[in-house]
Protein backbone atom coordinates (compact mmCIF):
# COMPACT_ATOMS: atom_id res chain seq x y z
CA UNK A 1 0.00 0.00 0.00
CA UNK A 2 1.28 3.42 -0.94
CA UNK A 3 0.19 6.48 0.95
CA UNK A 4 1.10 9.98 -0.22
CA UNK A 5 0.27 12.91 2.05
CA UNK A 6 0.41 16.60 1.27
CA UNK A 7 2.76 16.26 -1.68
CA UNK A 8 4.03 19.45 -3.20
CA UNK A 9 6.67 20.09 -5.81
CA UNK A 10 7.97 23.47 -6.77
CA UNK A 11 10.05 24.32 -9.84
CA UNK A 12 11.44 27.80 -9.31
CA UNK A 13 8.32 29.92 -9.30
CA UNK A 14 5.99 27.21 -10.53
CA UNK A 15 4.05 24.97 -8.12
CA UNK A 16 3.55 21.90 -10.29
CA UNK A 17 1.91 19.80 -7.56
CA UNK A 18 0.28 21.30 -4.52
CA UNK A 19 -0.86 19.58 -1.35
CA UNK A 20 -1.84 16.35 -3.00
CA UNK A 21 -2.70 13.23 -1.03
CA UNK A 22 -3.71 9.85 -2.26
CA UNK A 23 -3.70 6.21 -1.29
CA UNK A 24 -3.04 3.19 -3.46
CA UNK A 25 -4.14 -0.24 -2.29
CA UNK A 26 -3.84 -3.70 -3.71
CA UNK A 27 -7.04 -4.67 -5.47
CA UNK A 28 -7.82 -1.10 -6.44
CA UNK A 29 -7.14 0.82 -9.63
CA UNK A 30 -6.78 4.52 -8.86
CA UNK A 31 -6.96 6.75 -11.92
CA UNK A 32 -5.65 10.30 -12.07
CA UNK A 33 -7.06 12.54 -14.77
CA UNK A 34 -6.79 16.20 -15.58
CA UNK A 35 -6.08 18.64 -18.38
CA UNK A 36 -2.57 19.12 -19.78
CA UNK A 37 -0.31 20.81 -17.28
CA UNK A 38 -2.35 19.59 -14.33
CA UNK A 39 0.73 18.03 -12.78
CA UNK A 40 -0.04 14.37 -13.48
CA UNK A 41 3.42 13.53 -14.83
CA UNK A 42 5.05 15.36 -11.96
CA UNK A 43 2.95 13.30 -9.58
CA UNK A 44 4.08 10.05 -11.14
CA UNK A 45 7.71 11.16 -10.99
CA UNK A 46 7.30 12.11 -7.34
CA UNK A 47 5.87 8.72 -6.48
CA UNK A 48 8.48 6.89 -8.53
CA UNK A 49 11.39 8.75 -6.99
CA UNK A 50 12.57 10.66 -10.05
CA UNK A 51 11.73 13.89 -8.24
CA UNK A 52 11.96 14.71 -4.55
CA UNK A 53 8.94 16.44 -3.04
CA UNK A 54 9.32 20.00 -1.82
CA UNK A 55 6.80 19.14 0.87
CA UNK A 56 4.90 16.11 1.97
CA UNK A 57 5.59 12.46 2.67
CA UNK A 58 5.28 9.16 0.89
CA UNK A 59 4.73 5.91 2.75
CA UNK A 60 5.11 2.42 1.37
CA UNK A 61 3.67 -0.28 3.62
CA UNK A 62 4.26 1.94 6.61
CA UNK A 63 7.80 2.99 5.68
CA UNK A 64 8.65 6.57 4.78
CA UNK A 65 10.26 6.39 1.35
CA UNK A 66 10.32 10.07 0.40
CA UNK A 67 14.10 10.16 0.74
CA UNK A 68 14.68 7.08 -1.42
CA UNK A 69 15.84 7.54 -5.00
CA UNK A 70 14.38 5.79 -8.02
CA UNK A 71 16.64 2.75 -7.75
CA UNK A 72 15.83 2.07 -4.14
CA UNK A 73 12.12 2.62 -4.59
CA UNK A 74 12.10 0.19 -7.47
CA UNK A 75 13.78 -2.39 -5.29
CA UNK A 76 11.27 -1.64 -2.54
CA UNK A 77 8.47 -2.60 -4.87
CA UNK A 78 7.47 0.48 -6.84
CA UNK A 79 7.26 -0.30 -10.55
CA UNK A 80 6.48 2.24 -13.23
CA UNK A 81 5.96 2.53 -16.95
CA UNK A 82 6.95 5.53 -19.03
CA UNK A 83 4.70 7.69 -21.13
CA UNK A 84 7.34 7.82 -23.85
CA UNK A 85 8.62 4.30 -24.45
CA UNK A 86 11.87 4.03 -22.53
CA UNK A 87 13.45 0.67 -23.36
CA UNK A 88 16.54 -0.85 -24.96
CA UNK A 89 15.72 -1.17 -28.67
CA UNK A 90 18.89 -3.02 -29.69
CA UNK A 91 18.43 -5.72 -27.07
CA UNK A 92 15.93 -8.55 -27.45
CA UNK A 93 12.45 -8.34 -25.99
CA UNK A 94 13.36 -11.07 -23.53
CA UNK A 95 16.55 -9.32 -22.47
CA UNK A 96 14.69 -6.08 -21.78
CA UNK A 97 12.42 -7.88 -19.33
CA UNK A 98 15.07 -10.27 -18.01
CA UNK A 99 17.21 -7.31 -16.96
CA UNK A 100 14.35 -6.03 -14.84
CA UNK A 101 13.82 -9.48 -13.34
CA UNK A 102 17.53 -9.88 -12.67
CA UNK A 103 17.59 -7.12 -10.07
CA UNK A 104 16.42 -9.39 -7.31
CA UNK A 105 18.98 -12.09 -8.10
CA UNK A 106 22.14 -12.22 -6.12
CA UNK A 107 25.26 -13.98 -7.33
CA UNK A 108 26.00 -11.43 -9.97
CA UNK A 109 28.93 -13.35 -11.37
CA UNK A 110 26.89 -16.32 -12.47
CA UNK A 111 26.41 -16.93 -16.16
CA UNK A 112 23.22 -15.20 -17.19
CA UNK A 113 22.03 -18.03 -19.44
CA UNK A 114 22.17 -20.45 -16.56
CA UNK A 115 20.33 -18.41 -13.96
CA UNK A 116 16.74 -19.54 -14.56
CA UNK A 117 14.59 -17.46 -12.18
CA UNK A 118 14.98 -14.10 -13.99
CA UNK A 119 14.37 -15.84 -17.31
CA UNK A 120 11.27 -17.58 -15.98
CA UNK A 121 9.97 -14.38 -14.41
CA UNK A 122 10.58 -12.54 -17.66
CA UNK A 123 8.74 -15.14 -19.73
CA UNK A 124 5.88 -15.08 -17.24
CA UNK A 125 5.64 -11.30 -17.49
CA UNK A 126 5.70 -11.45 -21.28
CA UNK A 127 2.94 -14.06 -21.22
CA UNK A 128 0.90 -11.92 -18.88
CA UNK A 129 1.01 -8.91 -21.19
CA UNK A 130 0.48 -11.01 -24.29
CA UNK A 131 3.91 -10.79 -25.89
CA UNK A 132 4.92 -14.43 -25.60
CA UNK A 133 6.49 -15.51 -28.88
CA UNK A 134 8.31 -12.27 -29.55
CA UNK A 135 11.14 -12.88 -27.04
CA UNK A 136 13.95 -13.22 -29.53
CA UNK A 137 13.08 -10.19 -31.61
CA UNK A 138 14.97 -6.96 -31.07
CA UNK A 139 12.76 -4.65 -29.04
CA UNK A 140 13.16 -1.97 -31.68
CA UNK A 141 11.28 -4.07 -34.21
CA UNK A 142 8.04 -4.22 -32.21
CA UNK A 143 4.96 -2.27 -33.19
CA UNK A 144 3.87 0.68 -31.10
CA UNK A 145 1.15 -1.27 -29.33
CA UNK A 146 3.57 -4.09 -28.56
CA UNK A 147 6.06 -1.62 -27.15
CA UNK A 148 3.40 -0.31 -24.76
CA UNK A 149 2.83 -3.91 -23.69
CA UNK A 150 6.56 -4.39 -23.24
CA UNK A 151 6.73 -1.31 -21.01
CA UNK A 152 4.29 -3.01 -18.66
CA UNK A 153 6.11 -6.33 -18.83
CA UNK A 154 9.35 -4.65 -17.78
CA UNK A 155 7.63 -3.02 -14.81
CA UNK A 156 5.97 -6.31 -13.84
CA UNK A 157 9.17 -8.31 -13.97
CA UNK A 158 10.43 -6.54 -10.88
CA UNK A 159 7.49 -8.03 -8.97
CA UNK A 160 6.31 -4.69 -7.63
CA UNK A 161 3.54 -4.23 -5.12
CA UNK A 162 2.74 -0.81 -6.56
CA UNK A 163 2.37 -0.15 -10.30
CA UNK A 164 2.50 3.38 -11.64
CA UNK A 165 1.19 3.41 -15.21
CA UNK A 166 1.99 6.68 -16.94
CA UNK A 167 -0.34 7.00 -19.94
CA UNK A 168 0.10 3.38 -21.05
CA UNK A 169 -2.20 3.97 -23.99
CA UNK A 170 -0.25 6.96 -25.27
CA UNK A 171 -0.21 6.90 -29.04
CA UNK A 172 -2.23 3.71 -29.27
CA UNK A 173 -5.22 3.25 -31.54
CA UNK A 174 -8.40 1.46 -30.50
CA UNK A 175 -7.07 -1.90 -31.65
CA UNK A 176 -3.94 -1.67 -29.53
CA UNK A 177 -5.85 -0.27 -26.56
CA UNK A 178 -8.29 -3.12 -26.00
CA UNK A 179 -5.80 -5.76 -24.77
CA UNK A 180 -4.08 -3.17 -22.60
CA UNK A 181 -7.34 -2.21 -20.93
CA UNK A 182 -8.14 -5.82 -20.10
CA UNK A 183 -4.60 -6.21 -18.77
CA UNK A 184 -4.92 -3.19 -16.50
CA UNK A 185 -8.10 -4.48 -14.91
CA UNK A 186 -6.39 -7.81 -14.42
CA UNK A 187 -3.31 -6.27 -12.84
CA UNK A 188 -5.25 -4.31 -10.27
CA UNK A 189 -6.28 -7.53 -8.60
CA UNK A 190 -2.76 -8.24 -7.33
CA UNK A 191 -1.13 -4.82 -7.39
CA UNK A 192 -1.89 -1.34 -6.13
CA UNK A 193 -2.29 0.44 -9.45
CA UNK A 194 -2.10 4.12 -10.28
CA UNK A 195 -3.25 4.97 -13.78
CA UNK A 196 -2.61 8.30 -15.44
CA UNK A 197 -4.61 8.46 -18.63
CA UNK A 198 -6.30 10.86 -21.03
CA UNK A 199 -8.81 8.50 -22.57
CA UNK A 200 -11.97 9.05 -20.52
CA UNK A 201 -13.80 5.96 -21.72
CA UNK A 202 -10.95 3.75 -20.60
CA UNK A 203 -10.65 5.47 -17.25
CA UNK A 204 -14.34 5.18 -16.46
CA UNK A 205 -14.31 1.55 -17.53
CA UNK A 206 -11.41 0.30 -15.39
CA UNK A 207 -11.02 2.66 -12.44
CA UNK A 208 -12.30 2.04 -8.94
CA UNK A 209 -11.34 5.54 -7.74
CA UNK A 210 -10.76 8.66 -9.81
CA UNK A 211 -8.82 11.74 -8.73
CA UNK A 212 -9.18 14.87 -10.84
CA UNK A 213 -6.19 17.22 -10.87
CA UNK A 214 -6.23 20.80 -12.06
CA UNK A 215 -3.26 23.19 -11.79
CA UNK A 216 -1.43 20.84 -9.45
CA UNK A 217 -4.27 20.45 -6.98
CA UNK A 218 -6.89 17.84 -6.41
CA UNK A 219 -10.21 19.15 -7.65
CA UNK A 220 -12.37 16.12 -6.90
CA UNK A 221 -12.17 12.47 -5.94
CA UNK A 222 -14.73 9.71 -6.13
CA UNK A 223 -16.02 6.74 -8.03
CA UNK A 224 -16.21 7.06 -11.81
CA UNK A 225 -19.94 7.60 -11.54
CA UNK A 226 -19.57 10.41 -9.01
CA UNK A 227 -16.89 12.13 -11.07
CA UNK A 228 -18.93 11.86 -14.24
CA UNK A 229 -21.86 13.43 -12.47
CA UNK A 230 -19.89 16.22 -10.84
CA UNK A 231 -20.68 19.65 -12.26
CA UNK A 232 -17.45 21.13 -10.97
CA UNK A 233 -15.40 18.55 -12.80
CA UNK A 234 -17.43 18.98 -15.92
CA UNK A 235 -16.91 22.71 -15.90
CA UNK A 236 -13.22 22.53 -15.17
CA UNK A 237 -12.31 19.74 -17.42
CA UNK A 238 -14.70 17.60 -19.33
CA UNK A 239 -16.18 20.47 -21.25
CA UNK A 240 -19.26 18.62 -22.27
CA UNK A 241 -21.12 15.74 -20.73
CA UNK A 242 -19.85 12.27 -21.56
CA UNK A 243 -23.17 10.52 -21.47
Amino acid sequence: MMDARGLSRRFGGLLAVSDLSLTLQVGELHAVIGPNGAGKSTLVNLLAGELTPTEGSIWLNGVDIAALDTERRARAGVGRTFQRTNLMPELSVLENVRLAAQVRSGGILRRADRVRPPIEDALAALTRVGLRGTEQNAAGTLSHGQLRQLEIAVALAGQPSVLLLDEPLAGSGAEDAAPLVALMRDLSREHAVLLVEHDMDVVFAVADVVTVMVDGRMLARGTPGEIRASAAVRDAYLGHVVA
Partner: protein, 303 residues
Protein backbone atom coordinates in the same frame (compact mmCIF):
# COMPACT_ATOMS: atom_id res chain seq x y z
CA UNK B 1 28.61 -5.98 -27.37
CA UNK B 2 28.99 -8.85 -29.72
CA UNK B 3 31.71 -11.43 -29.53
CA UNK B 4 33.40 -12.85 -32.56
CA UNK B 5 31.30 -15.16 -34.64
CA UNK B 6 32.61 -18.70 -34.84
CA UNK B 7 34.27 -17.66 -38.06
CA UNK B 8 35.79 -14.70 -36.26
CA UNK B 9 36.85 -16.84 -33.32
CA UNK B 10 38.59 -19.19 -35.71
CA UNK B 11 40.36 -16.22 -37.24
CA UNK B 12 41.44 -15.01 -33.81
CA UNK B 13 42.69 -18.44 -32.84
CA UNK B 14 44.62 -18.79 -36.07
CA UNK B 15 46.07 -15.31 -35.63
CA UNK B 16 47.09 -16.27 -32.11
CA UNK B 17 48.81 -19.37 -33.41
CA UNK B 18 50.53 -17.33 -36.10
CA UNK B 19 51.88 -14.97 -33.48
CA UNK B 20 52.95 -17.88 -31.28
CA UNK B 21 54.84 -19.34 -34.19
CA UNK B 22 56.81 -16.17 -34.82
CA UNK B 23 59.93 -17.41 -33.01
CA UNK B 24 60.33 -19.80 -35.90
CA UNK B 25 60.20 -17.35 -38.73
CA UNK B 26 60.31 -13.74 -37.53
CA UNK B 27 63.19 -11.48 -36.62
CA UNK B 28 63.76 -10.27 -33.08
CA UNK B 29 62.63 -6.80 -34.16
CA UNK B 30 59.32 -8.06 -35.48
CA UNK B 31 58.72 -10.10 -32.37
CA UNK B 32 59.23 -6.99 -30.29
CA UNK B 33 56.80 -5.18 -32.54
CA UNK B 34 54.31 -7.98 -32.00
CA UNK B 35 54.78 -7.64 -28.24
CA UNK B 36 54.03 -3.93 -28.54
CA UNK B 37 50.86 -4.72 -30.42
CA UNK B 38 49.87 -7.35 -27.86
CA UNK B 39 50.34 -4.92 -24.99
CA UNK B 40 48.37 -2.19 -26.76
CA UNK B 41 45.69 -4.84 -27.32
CA UNK B 42 45.57 -5.55 -23.58
CA UNK B 43 45.31 -1.86 -22.79
CA UNK B 44 42.60 -1.23 -25.37
CA UNK B 45 40.73 -4.37 -24.29
CA UNK B 46 40.70 -3.20 -20.68
CA UNK B 47 39.20 0.10 -21.81
CA UNK B 48 36.62 -1.69 -23.95
CA UNK B 49 35.04 -3.06 -20.78
CA UNK B 50 34.14 0.54 -20.03
CA UNK B 51 33.42 1.88 -23.51
CA UNK B 52 31.73 -1.02 -25.29
CA UNK B 53 30.69 -2.73 -22.11
CA UNK B 54 29.18 0.06 -20.04
CA UNK B 55 29.12 3.07 -22.34
CA UNK B 56 31.68 5.00 -20.27
CA UNK B 57 34.27 6.99 -22.22
CA UNK B 58 37.18 7.58 -19.86
CA UNK B 59 40.38 9.51 -20.48
CA UNK B 60 42.00 8.45 -17.20
CA UNK B 61 42.85 4.97 -18.32
CA UNK B 62 46.46 5.61 -19.25
CA UNK B 63 46.98 6.64 -15.63
CA UNK B 64 46.19 3.11 -14.47
CA UNK B 65 48.36 1.65 -17.22
CA UNK B 66 51.24 3.80 -16.04
CA UNK B 67 50.64 2.89 -12.40
CA UNK B 68 50.98 -0.75 -13.29
CA UNK B 69 54.21 0.00 -15.13
CA UNK B 70 55.72 2.09 -12.36
CA UNK B 71 54.83 -0.53 -9.77
CA UNK B 72 57.56 -2.73 -11.18
CA UNK B 73 60.01 0.15 -10.93
CA UNK B 74 59.03 0.81 -7.34
CA UNK B 75 59.04 -2.85 -6.30
CA UNK B 76 62.46 -3.52 -7.71
CA UNK B 77 63.45 -6.91 -9.07
CA UNK B 78 60.93 -9.41 -7.75
CA UNK B 79 59.33 -12.43 -9.30
CA UNK B 80 56.59 -11.79 -11.79
CA UNK B 81 54.33 -13.85 -9.56
CA UNK B 82 54.52 -10.99 -7.07
CA UNK B 83 54.86 -7.98 -9.35
CA UNK B 84 51.86 -8.82 -11.52
CA UNK B 85 49.26 -9.06 -8.73
CA UNK B 86 50.74 -6.02 -6.99
CA UNK B 87 50.53 -4.00 -10.20
CA UNK B 88 46.94 -5.09 -10.73
CA UNK B 89 46.04 -4.31 -7.14
CA UNK B 90 47.68 -0.88 -7.13
CA UNK B 91 45.97 0.11 -10.34
CA UNK B 92 42.70 -1.32 -9.06
CA UNK B 93 42.80 0.59 -5.82
CA UNK B 94 43.57 3.82 -7.67
CA UNK B 95 40.71 3.11 -10.07
CA UNK B 96 38.37 2.49 -7.16
CA UNK B 97 39.27 5.81 -5.55
CA UNK B 98 39.20 7.84 -8.73
CA UNK B 99 36.09 6.09 -9.99
CA UNK B 100 34.20 6.79 -6.79
CA UNK B 101 34.74 10.49 -7.40
CA UNK B 102 34.59 10.69 -11.17
CA UNK B 103 31.41 8.61 -11.43
CA UNK B 104 29.54 11.23 -9.46
CA UNK B 105 29.48 12.98 -12.79
CA UNK B 106 28.24 11.81 -16.14
CA UNK B 107 28.49 12.64 -19.81
CA UNK B 108 30.81 15.57 -20.52
CA UNK B 109 31.67 16.08 -16.90
CA UNK B 110 32.74 12.47 -16.60
CA UNK B 111 35.01 12.86 -19.61
CA UNK B 112 36.57 16.02 -18.26
CA UNK B 113 37.07 14.74 -14.77
CA UNK B 114 38.64 11.50 -15.95
CA UNK B 115 40.95 13.62 -18.09
CA UNK B 116 41.99 15.65 -15.08
CA UNK B 117 42.42 12.64 -12.82
CA UNK B 118 44.52 10.91 -15.44
CA UNK B 119 46.71 14.00 -15.56
CA UNK B 120 46.94 13.98 -11.79
CA UNK B 121 48.53 10.55 -11.98
CA UNK B 122 50.79 11.86 -14.75
CA UNK B 123 51.92 14.74 -12.53
CA UNK B 124 52.53 12.28 -9.70
CA UNK B 125 55.20 10.52 -11.73
CA UNK B 126 56.37 13.49 -13.76
CA UNK B 127 56.77 16.18 -11.11
CA UNK B 128 57.67 14.21 -7.99
CA UNK B 129 60.70 12.00 -7.41
CA UNK B 130 58.39 8.98 -7.21
CA UNK B 131 58.83 8.25 -10.88
CA UNK B 132 62.55 8.63 -10.83
CA UNK B 133 62.58 11.59 -13.18
CA UNK B 134 60.62 13.09 -16.02
CA UNK B 135 62.79 11.53 -18.68
CA UNK B 136 61.95 8.01 -17.63
CA UNK B 137 63.73 5.20 -15.89
CA UNK B 138 65.12 1.80 -16.68
CA UNK B 139 63.49 -1.19 -15.10
CA UNK B 140 65.39 -3.74 -13.17
CA UNK B 141 63.93 -6.98 -14.33
CA UNK B 142 63.55 -9.93 -12.02
CA UNK B 143 66.64 -12.10 -11.68
CA UNK B 144 65.06 -14.99 -13.51
CA UNK B 145 65.23 -12.90 -16.67
CA UNK B 146 68.98 -12.97 -16.59
CA UNK B 147 68.93 -16.73 -16.91
CA UNK B 148 67.41 -16.30 -20.35
CA UNK B 149 69.88 -15.42 -23.07
CA UNK B 150 69.46 -12.07 -24.75
CA UNK B 151 68.67 -13.78 -28.01
CA UNK B 152 65.77 -15.63 -26.50
CA UNK B 153 64.23 -12.71 -24.63
CA UNK B 154 62.01 -11.45 -27.46
CA UNK B 155 60.56 -14.95 -27.77
CA UNK B 156 59.90 -15.29 -24.06
CA UNK B 157 58.22 -11.90 -23.85
CA UNK B 158 56.20 -12.56 -26.98
CA UNK B 159 54.78 -15.78 -25.59
CA UNK B 160 54.31 -14.25 -22.16
CA UNK B 161 52.37 -11.29 -23.56
CA UNK B 162 50.34 -13.55 -25.83
CA UNK B 163 49.35 -15.67 -22.84
CA UNK B 164 48.37 -12.68 -20.75
CA UNK B 165 46.29 -11.24 -23.59
CA UNK B 166 44.59 -14.57 -24.19
CA UNK B 167 43.79 -14.91 -20.50
CA UNK B 168 42.48 -11.34 -20.35
CA UNK B 169 40.29 -11.87 -23.40
CA UNK B 170 38.93 -15.14 -22.08
CA UNK B 171 38.21 -13.55 -18.72
CA UNK B 172 36.35 -10.61 -20.24
CA UNK B 173 34.48 -12.93 -22.60
CA UNK B 174 33.19 -14.84 -19.59
CA UNK B 175 32.52 -11.69 -17.57
CA UNK B 176 30.30 -10.19 -20.26
CA UNK B 177 28.18 -13.35 -20.11
CA UNK B 178 27.49 -13.07 -16.40
CA UNK B 179 24.59 -11.19 -14.83
CA UNK B 180 27.10 -8.43 -14.15
CA UNK B 181 28.12 -8.21 -17.78
CA UNK B 182 24.50 -8.11 -18.92
CA UNK B 183 23.79 -5.34 -16.46
CA UNK B 184 26.66 -3.30 -17.87
CA UNK B 185 25.33 -3.76 -21.38
CA UNK B 186 21.94 -2.65 -20.10
CA UNK B 187 23.52 0.48 -18.67
CA UNK B 188 25.14 1.22 -21.99
CA UNK B 189 21.80 0.72 -23.75
CA UNK B 190 19.65 2.80 -21.42
CA UNK B 191 21.03 3.87 -18.06
CA UNK B 192 17.90 5.72 -17.03
CA UNK B 193 15.70 2.67 -17.47
CA UNK B 194 18.18 0.50 -15.61
CA UNK B 195 17.82 2.83 -12.64
CA UNK B 196 14.06 2.70 -12.91
CA UNK B 197 14.31 -1.09 -12.83
CA UNK B 198 16.15 -0.86 -9.54
CA UNK B 199 19.70 -1.74 -10.60
CA UNK B 200 22.41 -0.22 -8.38
CA UNK B 201 23.83 1.57 -11.40
CA UNK B 202 26.49 3.55 -9.56
CA UNK B 203 27.93 0.47 -7.91
CA UNK B 204 27.92 -1.45 -11.18
CA UNK B 205 29.75 1.32 -12.99
CA UNK B 206 32.29 1.59 -10.18
CA UNK B 207 32.91 -2.14 -10.27
CA UNK B 208 33.48 -1.98 -14.02
CA UNK B 209 35.76 1.03 -13.64
CA UNK B 210 37.83 -0.78 -11.01
CA UNK B 211 38.16 -4.02 -12.95
CA UNK B 212 39.07 -2.09 -16.09
CA UNK B 213 41.69 -0.18 -14.11
CA UNK B 214 43.16 -3.41 -12.77
CA UNK B 215 43.44 -4.87 -16.26
CA UNK B 216 45.07 -1.67 -17.50
CA UNK B 217 47.56 -2.03 -14.67
CA UNK B 218 48.37 -5.53 -15.84
CA UNK B 219 48.94 -4.21 -19.36
CA UNK B 220 51.24 -1.51 -18.02
CA UNK B 221 53.12 -4.07 -15.96
CA UNK B 222 53.75 -6.16 -19.06
CA UNK B 223 54.88 -3.05 -20.94
CA UNK B 224 57.45 -2.22 -18.28
CA UNK B 225 58.69 -5.79 -18.16
CA UNK B 226 58.99 -6.06 -21.93
CA UNK B 227 60.53 -2.68 -22.74
CA UNK B 228 62.63 -2.35 -19.58
CA UNK B 229 62.18 1.41 -19.86
CA UNK B 230 59.24 3.55 -18.78
CA UNK B 231 58.55 7.27 -18.85
CA UNK B 232 55.79 9.46 -17.40
CA UNK B 233 54.25 10.09 -20.80
CA UNK B 234 52.84 6.56 -20.54
CA UNK B 235 50.24 8.16 -18.27
CA UNK B 236 49.40 11.08 -20.53
CA UNK B 237 45.89 11.46 -21.85
CA UNK B 238 47.18 11.15 -25.41
CA UNK B 239 47.76 7.47 -24.62
CA UNK B 240 44.18 7.09 -23.43
CA UNK B 241 43.05 8.63 -26.70
CA UNK B 242 45.22 6.13 -28.58
CA UNK B 243 43.44 3.26 -26.84
CA UNK B 244 40.09 4.81 -27.73
CA UNK B 245 41.22 4.97 -31.33
CA UNK B 246 42.16 1.28 -31.27
CA UNK B 247 38.68 0.49 -29.98
CA UNK B 248 37.01 2.58 -32.64
CA UNK B 249 39.16 1.17 -35.43
CA UNK B 250 38.43 -2.37 -34.37
CA UNK B 251 34.75 -1.77 -33.78
CA UNK B 252 33.19 -0.52 -30.56
CA UNK B 253 30.47 -3.13 -30.71
CA UNK B 254 32.80 -6.10 -30.52
CA UNK B 255 34.80 -7.52 -27.65
CA UNK B 256 37.68 -8.50 -29.93
CA UNK B 257 37.58 -5.16 -31.75
CA UNK B 258 40.33 -3.56 -29.64
CA UNK B 259 42.73 -6.38 -30.56
CA UNK B 260 42.17 -5.84 -34.27
CA UNK B 261 42.43 -2.10 -33.82
CA UNK B 262 45.62 -2.29 -31.77
CA UNK B 263 47.35 -4.45 -34.34
CA UNK B 264 46.17 -2.18 -37.15
CA UNK B 265 47.47 0.90 -35.31
CA UNK B 266 50.84 -0.70 -34.54
CA UNK B 267 51.21 -1.74 -38.15
CA UNK B 268 50.28 1.74 -39.29
CA UNK B 269 52.84 3.35 -37.00
CA UNK B 270 55.48 1.06 -38.44
CA UNK B 271 54.63 1.63 -42.08
CA UNK B 272 53.62 5.28 -42.27
CA UNK B 273 57.13 6.74 -41.79
CA UNK B 274 57.92 5.06 -45.11
CA UNK B 275 55.36 7.30 -46.78
CA UNK B 276 55.87 10.65 -45.11
CA UNK B 277 57.69 12.36 -42.28
CA UNK B 278 54.56 14.15 -41.22
CA UNK B 279 53.41 11.57 -38.70
CA UNK B 280 50.83 13.76 -37.02
CA UNK B 281 49.15 14.39 -40.31
CA UNK B 282 48.90 10.67 -40.97
CA UNK B 283 47.56 9.97 -37.51
CA UNK B 284 45.05 12.80 -37.80
CA UNK B 285 43.92 11.59 -41.20
CA UNK B 286 43.57 8.00 -39.95
CA UNK B 287 41.42 9.13 -37.06
CA UNK B 288 39.21 11.25 -39.31
CA UNK B 289 38.82 8.35 -41.74
CA UNK B 290 38.07 5.88 -38.96
CA UNK B 291 35.44 8.05 -37.31
CA UNK B 292 33.78 9.33 -40.45
CA UNK B 293 33.96 6.26 -42.66
CA UNK B 294 34.41 3.04 -40.70
CA UNK B 295 30.89 2.57 -39.43
CA UNK B 296 31.37 -0.64 -37.54
CA UNK B 297 35.12 -0.96 -37.38
CA UNK B 298 37.37 -3.65 -38.72
CA UNK B 299 35.51 -6.35 -36.82
CA UNK B 300 32.32 -5.34 -38.53
CA UNK B 301 33.62 -5.98 -42.02
CA UNK B 302 31.76 -8.75 -43.73
CA UNK B 303 29.02 -8.99 -41.09
Amino acid sequence: MKSATSRGNTFLALAGLAVASMPFWATAYHMQLASTALILSMFALSLQLLVGGAGLVSLAHAGFFGLGAYTIYLLGPVSILISLPVAALTAGVAALGIGALALRTSGFFFLMTTLAFGQMLFFLFHDTPLGGGLDGVFIQRPDTIWTISKAQRPTVFLLLNLSVLAAMYAGLWLLMRTLFGRALLGIRANEHRMRAMGHPVQRLKLAAFTVAGMLAGIAGHMAALTDAFIAPDLLGWHRSAEALLAILLGGIGFLHGPILGAFALTLLEELSPLITERQRLVEGAVILAAVLLLRRGLAGIGR
